[in-house]
Protein backbone atom coordinates (compact mmCIF):
# COMPACT_ATOMS: atom_id res chain seq x y z
CA UNK A 1 0.00 0.00 0.00
CA UNK A 2 1.50 3.26 -1.11
CA UNK A 3 0.90 6.37 0.99
CA UNK A 4 -1.46 7.65 -1.68
CA UNK A 5 -3.66 4.55 -1.37
CA UNK A 6 -3.93 5.14 2.38
CA UNK A 7 -4.86 8.78 1.75
CA UNK A 8 -7.51 7.78 -0.82
CA UNK A 9 -9.00 5.27 1.66
CA UNK A 10 -9.04 7.82 4.51
CA UNK A 11 -10.51 10.58 2.36
CA UNK A 12 -13.24 8.35 0.98
CA UNK A 13 -14.14 7.10 4.46
CA UNK A 14 -14.49 10.78 5.41
CA UNK A 15 -16.64 11.41 2.30
CA UNK A 16 -19.00 8.55 3.30
CA UNK A 17 -19.26 10.10 6.78
CA UNK A 18 -19.79 13.63 5.44
CA UNK A 19 -22.49 12.40 3.02
CA UNK A 20 -24.39 10.99 6.00
CA UNK A 21 -24.12 14.26 7.93
CA UNK A 22 -25.20 16.52 5.06
CA UNK A 23 -28.95 17.18 4.90
CA UNK A 24 -30.79 14.68 2.68
CA UNK A 25 -31.01 15.71 -0.98
CA UNK A 26 -34.48 16.15 -2.48
CA UNK A 27 -34.58 14.50 -5.93
CA UNK A 28 -37.01 15.67 -8.56
CA UNK A 29 -39.79 13.12 -9.04
CA UNK A 30 -39.29 11.18 -5.78
CA UNK A 31 -41.43 12.04 -2.75
CA UNK A 32 -38.86 11.18 -0.03
CA UNK A 33 -35.43 12.86 -0.05
CA UNK A 34 -32.57 10.38 -0.32
CA UNK A 35 -29.78 10.05 2.24
CA UNK A 36 -26.50 9.98 0.44
CA UNK A 37 -24.64 7.61 2.76
CA UNK A 38 -25.38 4.33 0.96
CA UNK A 39 -24.64 6.20 -2.24
CA UNK A 40 -21.19 6.92 -0.74
CA UNK A 41 -20.71 3.19 -0.17
CA UNK A 42 -21.48 2.39 -3.83
CA UNK A 43 -19.16 5.20 -4.97
CA UNK A 44 -16.30 3.97 -2.76
CA UNK A 45 -16.22 0.77 -4.81
CA UNK A 46 -16.90 2.33 -8.20
CA UNK A 47 -14.37 5.18 -7.88
CA UNK A 48 -11.53 3.67 -5.81
CA UNK A 49 -11.83 0.01 -6.85
CA UNK A 50 -12.42 -3.22 -4.88
CA UNK A 51 -9.65 -3.21 -2.26
CA UNK A 52 -9.46 0.49 -1.52
CA UNK A 53 -13.23 0.90 -1.72
CA UNK A 54 -13.93 -1.93 0.73
CA UNK A 55 -11.19 -0.65 3.07
CA UNK A 56 -12.68 2.88 2.98
CA UNK A 57 -16.01 1.39 4.06
CA UNK A 58 -14.22 -0.64 6.75
CA UNK A 59 -12.51 2.49 8.13
CA UNK A 60 -15.88 4.24 8.23
CA UNK A 61 -17.49 1.26 10.03
CA UNK A 62 -14.68 1.11 12.60
CA UNK A 63 -15.30 4.78 13.44
CA UNK A 64 -19.04 4.10 13.81
CA UNK A 65 -18.21 1.12 16.04
CA UNK A 66 -15.96 3.39 18.10
CA UNK A 67 -19.05 5.42 18.96
CA UNK A 68 -18.87 8.34 16.50
CA UNK A 69 -22.32 9.47 15.32
CA UNK A 70 -21.47 9.14 11.62
CA UNK A 71 -24.38 7.05 10.36
CA UNK A 72 -27.01 9.11 8.52
CA UNK A 73 -29.11 10.99 11.06
CA UNK A 74 -26.20 11.33 13.51
CA UNK A 75 -26.27 7.77 14.85
CA UNK A 76 -23.36 5.61 15.90
CA UNK A 77 -22.04 3.14 18.42
CA UNK A 78 -21.77 -0.60 18.75
CA UNK A 79 -25.55 -0.92 19.31
CA UNK A 80 -26.15 -0.37 15.58
CA UNK A 81 -24.11 -3.48 14.77
CA UNK A 82 -26.12 -5.57 17.19
CA UNK A 83 -29.52 -4.11 16.26
CA UNK A 84 -31.30 -4.87 13.02
CA UNK A 85 -29.12 -2.64 10.84
CA UNK A 86 -26.04 -4.77 11.69
CA UNK A 87 -26.26 -7.09 8.69
CA UNK A 88 -26.58 -4.21 6.24
CA UNK A 89 -23.54 -2.46 7.71
CA UNK A 90 -21.50 -5.64 7.20
CA UNK A 91 -22.99 -5.90 3.70
CA UNK A 92 -21.66 -2.43 2.82
CA UNK A 93 -18.09 -3.75 3.08
CA UNK A 94 -18.68 -6.64 0.67
CA UNK A 95 -20.90 -4.51 -1.56
CA UNK A 96 -18.16 -1.95 -2.14
CA UNK A 97 -15.74 -4.78 -2.96
CA UNK A 98 -18.06 -6.42 -5.48
CA UNK A 99 -18.78 -3.09 -7.24
CA UNK A 100 -15.07 -2.32 -7.52
CA UNK A 101 -14.32 -5.87 -8.66
CA UNK A 102 -16.87 -5.77 -11.49
CA UNK A 103 -15.69 -2.36 -12.73
CA UNK A 104 -12.05 -3.29 -12.55
CA UNK A 105 -12.52 -6.47 -14.55
CA UNK A 106 -15.11 -5.44 -17.13
CA UNK A 107 -14.25 -1.88 -18.18
CA UNK A 108 -11.04 0.11 -18.54
CA UNK A 109 -10.23 2.86 -16.04
CA UNK A 110 -11.33 5.84 -18.11
CA UNK A 111 -14.06 4.30 -20.28
CA UNK A 112 -17.25 6.43 -20.18
CA UNK A 113 -19.34 5.18 -23.15
CA UNK A 114 -22.81 3.60 -23.07
CA UNK A 115 -21.34 0.16 -22.31
CA UNK A 116 -19.52 1.64 -19.28
CA UNK A 117 -22.74 3.24 -18.06
CA UNK A 118 -24.49 -0.09 -18.28
CA UNK A 119 -21.76 -2.05 -16.50
CA UNK A 120 -21.46 0.54 -13.72
CA UNK A 121 -25.23 0.36 -13.16
CA UNK A 122 -25.21 -3.45 -13.08
CA UNK A 123 -22.27 -3.38 -10.66
CA UNK A 124 -24.09 -0.94 -8.35
CA UNK A 125 -27.22 -3.08 -8.52
CA UNK A 126 -25.43 -6.35 -7.76
CA UNK A 127 -22.96 -4.96 -5.21
CA UNK A 128 -24.87 -2.07 -3.72
CA UNK A 129 -28.25 -3.79 -3.46
CA UNK A 130 -28.02 -7.61 -3.75
CA UNK A 131 -24.78 -8.08 -1.80
CA UNK A 132 -25.81 -5.52 0.85
CA UNK A 133 -29.27 -7.01 1.41
CA UNK A 134 -28.07 -10.61 1.70
CA UNK A 135 -26.41 -10.34 5.16
CA UNK A 136 -28.97 -7.67 6.10
CA UNK A 137 -31.90 -10.01 5.52
CA UNK A 138 -30.18 -13.03 7.12
CA UNK A 139 -29.36 -10.90 10.19
CA UNK A 140 -32.94 -9.68 10.66
CA UNK A 141 -34.31 -13.19 10.11
CA UNK A 142 -32.01 -14.47 12.85
CA UNK A 143 -32.84 -11.53 15.17
CA UNK A 144 -36.58 -11.88 14.81
CA UNK A 145 -36.75 -15.64 14.32
CA UNK A 146 -38.84 -15.20 11.18
CA UNK A 147 -38.41 -16.88 7.83
CA UNK A 148 -35.91 -15.42 5.38
CA UNK A 149 -38.60 -15.16 2.73
CA UNK A 150 -40.86 -12.99 4.95
CA UNK A 151 -38.00 -10.60 5.70
CA UNK A 152 -37.13 -10.52 2.01
CA UNK A 153 -40.71 -9.52 1.12
CA UNK A 154 -40.67 -6.87 3.86
CA UNK A 155 -37.48 -5.31 2.57
CA UNK A 156 -38.76 -5.01 -1.02
CA UNK A 157 -40.23 -1.62 0.01
CA UNK A 158 -36.72 -0.13 0.00
CA UNK A 159 -35.73 -1.44 -3.43
CA UNK A 160 -37.16 1.45 -5.55
CA UNK A 161 -35.17 4.03 -3.54
CA UNK A 162 -32.04 1.91 -3.86
CA UNK A 163 -32.52 1.59 -7.63
CA UNK A 164 -32.59 5.40 -7.85
CA UNK A 165 -29.37 5.46 -5.83
CA UNK A 166 -27.77 2.97 -8.23
CA UNK A 167 -28.67 5.27 -11.16
CA UNK A 168 -27.25 8.33 -9.34
CA UNK A 169 -24.12 6.33 -8.41
CA UNK A 170 -23.67 5.43 -12.10
CA UNK A 171 -24.00 9.08 -13.21
CA UNK A 172 -21.63 10.33 -10.47
CA UNK A 173 -19.07 7.64 -11.29
CA UNK A 174 -19.06 8.53 -14.99
CA UNK A 175 -18.79 12.27 -14.22
CA UNK A 176 -15.88 11.72 -11.82
CA UNK A 177 -14.14 9.43 -14.35
CA UNK A 178 -14.40 12.20 -16.96
CA UNK A 179 -12.68 14.89 -14.88
CA UNK A 180 -10.49 12.87 -12.51
CA UNK A 181 -9.90 9.27 -13.63
CA UNK A 182 -8.30 7.08 -10.96
CA UNK A 183 -6.79 3.65 -11.68
CA UNK A 184 -8.98 1.12 -9.83
CA UNK A 185 -7.24 -0.96 -7.17
Amino acid sequence: MATKDIVFIALFAAIIAALGLLPAIPVVGIPAPITAQTLGVMLAGSILGPKRGALAVLVFLVLVLAGLPLLAGGRGGVEHFIGNSGGFLVGWFFGAYVIGFILKNFISDSQVNIRAHFIIFIACFLGGICVVYLPGILWIARNTGSSIFDVYLGSLVFIPGDLVKAVIAMLVTVAVRRVYPIALK
Binding site: M1, A2, T3, K4, I6, V7, I9, A10, L11, F12, A13, A14, I15, A17, A18, L19, L21, L22, I25, P26, V27, I34, L39, L43, I47, V59, F60, V62, L63, L65, A66, G67, L68, P69, L70, G73, G74, R75, G76, G77, V78, E79, I82, G83, N84, I140, N143, T144, G145, S146, D150, G154, I168, L171, V172, A175, V176, V179, Y180, I182
Partner: protein, 208 residues
Protein backbone atom coordinates in the same frame (compact mmCIF):
# COMPACT_ATOMS: atom_id res chain seq x y z
CA UNK B 1 -22.24 17.99 16.67
CA UNK B 2 -20.13 18.57 13.59
CA UNK B 3 -22.12 21.68 12.79
CA UNK B 4 -20.45 23.56 15.65
CA UNK B 5 -17.95 25.95 14.12
CA UNK B 6 -15.23 25.95 16.77
CA UNK B 7 -15.90 22.64 18.52
CA UNK B 8 -13.07 20.10 18.49
CA UNK B 9 -13.44 16.60 17.14
CA UNK B 10 -14.35 15.16 20.48
CA UNK B 11 -17.64 17.03 20.18
CA UNK B 12 -18.47 14.28 17.70
CA UNK B 13 -18.20 11.66 20.40
CA UNK B 14 -21.02 10.21 22.51
CA UNK B 15 -18.51 9.70 25.37
CA UNK B 16 -19.67 10.85 28.78
CA UNK B 17 -16.97 11.44 31.40
CA UNK B 18 -17.59 9.53 34.63
CA UNK B 19 -16.13 7.06 37.08
CA UNK B 20 -18.52 4.09 37.01
CA UNK B 21 -17.26 0.52 36.80
CA UNK B 22 -17.98 0.59 33.05
CA UNK B 23 -15.78 3.68 32.67
CA UNK B 24 -12.94 1.96 34.50
CA UNK B 25 -13.19 -1.44 32.78
CA UNK B 26 -10.61 -2.04 30.06
CA UNK B 27 -12.07 -1.59 26.57
CA UNK B 28 -11.42 -5.19 25.46
CA UNK B 29 -13.37 -6.60 28.41
CA UNK B 30 -16.40 -4.43 27.59
CA UNK B 31 -16.48 -5.64 23.99
CA UNK B 32 -15.83 -9.23 25.05
CA UNK B 33 -18.78 -9.09 27.48
CA UNK B 34 -21.01 -7.48 24.86
CA UNK B 35 -20.28 -10.25 22.34
CA UNK B 36 -20.81 -12.92 25.02
CA UNK B 37 -24.16 -11.35 25.96
CA UNK B 38 -25.32 -11.24 22.38
CA UNK B 39 -24.69 -14.99 22.10
CA UNK B 40 -26.08 -15.77 25.56
CA UNK B 41 -29.35 -13.82 25.22
CA UNK B 42 -30.28 -15.76 22.09
CA UNK B 43 -29.81 -19.02 23.99
CA UNK B 44 -32.40 -17.97 26.60
CA UNK B 45 -35.96 -18.92 25.67
CA UNK B 46 -37.63 -18.02 28.99
CA UNK B 47 -39.42 -14.67 28.91
CA UNK B 48 -39.17 -14.21 32.72
CA UNK B 49 -35.36 -14.45 32.69
CA UNK B 50 -35.22 -12.07 29.71
CA UNK B 51 -37.45 -9.59 31.57
CA UNK B 52 -35.04 -9.64 34.52
CA UNK B 53 -32.15 -9.05 32.10
CA UNK B 54 -33.97 -6.09 30.55
CA UNK B 55 -34.58 -4.63 34.02
CA UNK B 56 -30.87 -5.05 34.78
CA UNK B 57 -29.98 -3.30 31.50
CA UNK B 58 -32.23 -0.36 32.41
CA UNK B 59 -30.63 -0.25 35.87
CA UNK B 60 -27.26 -0.06 34.10
CA UNK B 61 -28.34 3.09 32.22
CA UNK B 62 -29.35 4.69 35.54
CA UNK B 63 -26.07 3.58 37.12
CA UNK B 64 -23.93 5.00 34.29
CA UNK B 65 -26.02 8.21 34.62
CA UNK B 66 -26.74 8.87 30.98
CA UNK B 67 -28.56 12.25 30.89
CA UNK B 68 -32.14 12.18 29.59
CA UNK B 69 -31.30 14.47 26.66
CA UNK B 70 -28.60 12.03 25.50
CA UNK B 71 -30.92 9.11 26.07
CA UNK B 72 -33.47 10.54 23.71
CA UNK B 73 -30.92 11.23 21.00
CA UNK B 74 -29.31 7.82 21.28
CA UNK B 75 -32.11 5.41 22.02
CA UNK B 76 -35.17 6.70 20.29
CA UNK B 77 -34.40 5.49 16.77
CA UNK B 78 -32.73 2.14 17.62
CA UNK B 79 -35.53 1.31 20.06
CA UNK B 80 -38.18 2.30 17.57
CA UNK B 81 -36.57 -0.07 15.05
CA UNK B 82 -36.49 -2.86 17.65
CA UNK B 83 -40.18 -2.29 18.37
CA UNK B 84 -40.98 -2.33 14.66
CA UNK B 85 -39.18 -5.63 14.13
CA UNK B 86 -40.72 -7.14 17.26
CA UNK B 87 -44.18 -6.34 15.94
CA UNK B 88 -43.12 -7.76 12.57
CA UNK B 89 -41.94 -10.93 14.29
CA UNK B 90 -45.12 -11.20 16.39
CA UNK B 91 -47.11 -10.79 13.20
CA UNK B 92 -45.35 -13.41 11.05
CA UNK B 93 -44.70 -15.86 13.91
CA UNK B 94 -46.59 -15.53 17.21
CA UNK B 95 -46.77 -13.18 20.19
CA UNK B 96 -44.17 -15.13 22.14
CA UNK B 97 -41.61 -14.77 19.33
CA UNK B 98 -42.33 -11.03 19.17
CA UNK B 99 -41.77 -10.62 22.89
CA UNK B 100 -38.56 -12.70 22.79
CA UNK B 101 -37.22 -10.46 20.00
CA UNK B 102 -38.22 -7.33 21.90
CA UNK B 103 -36.60 -8.36 25.21
CA UNK B 104 -33.40 -9.68 23.66
CA UNK B 105 -32.77 -6.78 21.29
CA UNK B 106 -33.80 -4.02 23.69
CA UNK B 107 -31.46 -5.37 26.39
CA UNK B 108 -28.59 -5.68 23.93
CA UNK B 109 -29.13 -2.24 22.41
CA UNK B 110 -29.22 -0.65 25.88
CA UNK B 111 -26.08 -2.44 27.08
CA UNK B 112 -24.26 -1.62 23.82
CA UNK B 113 -25.23 2.05 24.19
CA UNK B 114 -23.80 2.00 27.73
CA UNK B 115 -20.53 0.66 26.30
CA UNK B 116 -20.57 3.49 23.73
CA UNK B 117 -21.03 6.30 26.27
CA UNK B 118 -18.38 4.93 28.63
CA UNK B 119 -15.59 4.31 26.11
CA UNK B 120 -13.29 7.09 24.90
CA UNK B 121 -12.55 7.16 21.18
CA UNK B 122 -8.83 7.16 21.94
CA UNK B 123 -9.25 4.01 24.05
CA UNK B 124 -11.19 2.32 21.28
CA UNK B 125 -8.52 3.19 18.71
CA UNK B 126 -5.84 1.77 21.02
CA UNK B 127 -7.97 -1.38 21.38
CA UNK B 128 -8.17 -1.76 17.58
CA UNK B 129 -4.41 -1.29 17.27
CA UNK B 130 -3.76 -3.95 19.92
CA UNK B 131 -6.23 -6.25 18.23
CA UNK B 132 -4.29 -5.91 14.97
CA UNK B 133 -0.87 -6.41 16.55
CA UNK B 134 -0.91 -10.23 16.22
CA UNK B 135 -1.90 -9.80 12.57
CA UNK B 136 0.97 -7.48 11.69
CA UNK B 137 2.87 -10.29 9.94
CA UNK B 138 0.42 -9.73 7.05
CA UNK B 139 2.12 -6.99 5.00
CA UNK B 140 -1.21 -5.31 4.47
CA UNK B 141 -2.00 -4.69 8.13
CA UNK B 142 0.40 -2.44 9.98
CA UNK B 143 -0.93 -0.99 13.25
CA UNK B 144 0.84 2.30 12.44
CA UNK B 145 -0.86 2.51 9.05
CA UNK B 146 -4.23 1.71 10.59
CA UNK B 147 -4.01 4.48 13.16
CA UNK B 148 -2.75 6.90 10.50
CA UNK B 149 -5.75 6.08 8.30
CA UNK B 150 -8.26 6.42 11.15
CA UNK B 151 -6.86 9.76 12.33
CA UNK B 152 -6.65 11.09 8.75
CA UNK B 153 -10.34 10.26 8.30
CA UNK B 154 -11.28 11.95 11.58
CA UNK B 155 -9.24 14.98 10.61
CA UNK B 156 -11.03 15.38 7.26
CA UNK B 157 -14.67 14.67 8.17
CA UNK B 158 -15.45 18.22 9.43
CA UNK B 159 -13.56 19.72 6.49
CA UNK B 160 -15.38 17.67 3.83
CA UNK B 161 -18.67 18.37 5.60
CA UNK B 162 -17.98 22.11 5.39
CA UNK B 163 -16.94 21.77 1.73
CA UNK B 164 -20.24 19.97 1.11
CA UNK B 165 -22.24 22.77 2.76
CA UNK B 166 -20.36 25.38 0.69
CA UNK B 167 -21.01 23.52 -2.58
CA UNK B 168 -24.67 23.08 -1.62
CA UNK B 169 -25.02 26.83 -1.09
CA UNK B 170 -23.22 27.71 -4.31
CA UNK B 171 -25.36 25.29 -6.34
CA UNK B 172 -28.57 26.50 -4.68
CA UNK B 173 -27.65 30.01 -5.84
CA UNK B 174 -27.52 28.57 -9.37
CA UNK B 175 -30.90 26.89 -8.90
CA UNK B 176 -29.40 23.39 -8.69
CA UNK B 177 -30.56 22.57 -5.17
CA UNK B 178 -32.44 19.42 -6.09
CA UNK B 179 -29.72 17.91 -8.25
CA UNK B 180 -27.66 15.36 -6.31
CA UNK B 181 -24.97 15.26 -9.03
CA UNK B 182 -24.29 18.98 -8.59
CA UNK B 183 -23.32 18.35 -4.97
CA UNK B 184 -21.66 14.94 -4.99
CA UNK B 185 -19.48 15.19 -8.12
CA UNK B 186 -17.61 18.38 -7.10
CA UNK B 187 -17.41 17.15 -3.49
CA UNK B 188 -15.64 13.94 -4.54
CA UNK B 189 -13.43 15.48 -7.22
CA UNK B 190 -12.28 18.40 -5.03
CA UNK B 191 -11.59 16.04 -2.12
CA UNK B 192 -9.72 13.36 -4.06
CA UNK B 193 -7.62 15.93 -5.93
CA UNK B 194 -6.03 16.80 -2.58
CA UNK B 195 -4.79 13.23 -2.15
CA UNK B 196 -1.50 14.02 -3.96
CA UNK B 197 -0.67 16.95 -1.69
CA UNK B 198 -1.60 15.05 1.46
CA UNK B 199 0.40 11.93 0.56
CA UNK B 200 3.42 14.09 -0.41
CA UNK B 201 3.17 15.80 2.98
CA UNK B 202 3.07 12.42 4.76
CA UNK B 203 5.99 11.06 2.72
CA UNK B 204 8.01 14.21 3.39
CA UNK B 205 7.65 13.46 7.10
CA UNK B 206 8.86 9.89 6.38
CA UNK B 207 6.18 7.81 8.05
CA UNK B 208 8.04 4.60 7.23
Amino acid sequence: MVQKEDGGLMDLSFYLPGSSVLHRMPTWSKFFLLISFSILFYAIEDLRILAVILAAAIALVVYVRVPVRRLKAMFLLPLFMVLLFSIFSAFVNDLNAGLLTFFRLTSLVIIAACVTVTTRIEDFMAFIENLLLPLSFIPFIKPKTVSLTLSLTLRFIPEIFKLGMDIKEAQAARGLNSNPLALIVPLIVLTLKRADDISDAIDARMLD
